[in-house]
Point group: C2
């Protein structure tokens, strides 16, 4: 799985790493049971520090996306806590949709956006390869 990073972004590197890996899982780019590169290897590939990668992996572990094994490394392992996941989704949506409403984006457009983003993640319509 290819992982890139934008050094000019105002988003923290470890957050970018988390997001990319989550997108990779959602798009089946990497699947349950498969392993990510080791912290040192990924850090070297991207050109960042080991601890930055380790921080991302630790967060993903705590959020139930993978498990860390000292022998195998970082193994994708999904813990399906839907209750908590829904609460987080509602939190994110409340600010995102409030913004959208202020900009006169209709509810139909929001629903279309959900479908398009899902399709994009699953089948890769627009940009991402």
């Amino acid at each position: 799985m290819v992982i890139r990073v934008d050094f000019n972004s105002d988003e923290a590197l470890y957050i970018q790493l988390c997001n990319q890996i989550i997108l990779g899982i959602a798009s089946s780019n990497i699947q349950e049971g498969e392993t990510l590169p080791s912290v040192r290897e990924l850090a070297d590939n991207i050109g960042i520090n080991m601890h930055t990668v380790n921080k991302a992996y630790s967060i993903l572990k705590q959020e139930g996306f993978l498990k860390l094994d000292r022998r195998k490394g970082a193994v994708i392992s999904l813990d399906l806590d839907k209750v908590n996941a829904k609460l987080e989704l509602y939190d994110v949506l409340s600010v995102a949709l409030a913004r959208a409403m202020c900009k006169n984006i209709t509810r139909e457009e929001m629903h279309r956006a959900v479908d398009e983003v899902c399709d994009d993640i699953l089948y890769g319509n627009t940009l991402q390869e």
Copy 2:
């Protein structure tokens, strides 16, 4: 319009201010043409520094939610840049929905979440008063 702040949150104070005001606009709690408290007044009310409020107002101005007038203060004034607003919405959704997909949240549940959040903003179902 009532504005509160959570000092224990890991979210920056000025971000919380921005989000609250945007939610206030979306929920018609405050409307186009109406004015927000002055930077000094709001800062005193909440118990934070003037510059933190000023930072929030400046961002909201730059994002097209209000205009700053030296005589009237901060006046709600919506600049409807739908193109940009949609791009931002897609950005936020892509990471939020990828997370949701990993947690086996169905597309139907996502659509229901959109409707519930919108209704909650507009009519105040659950918690917010």
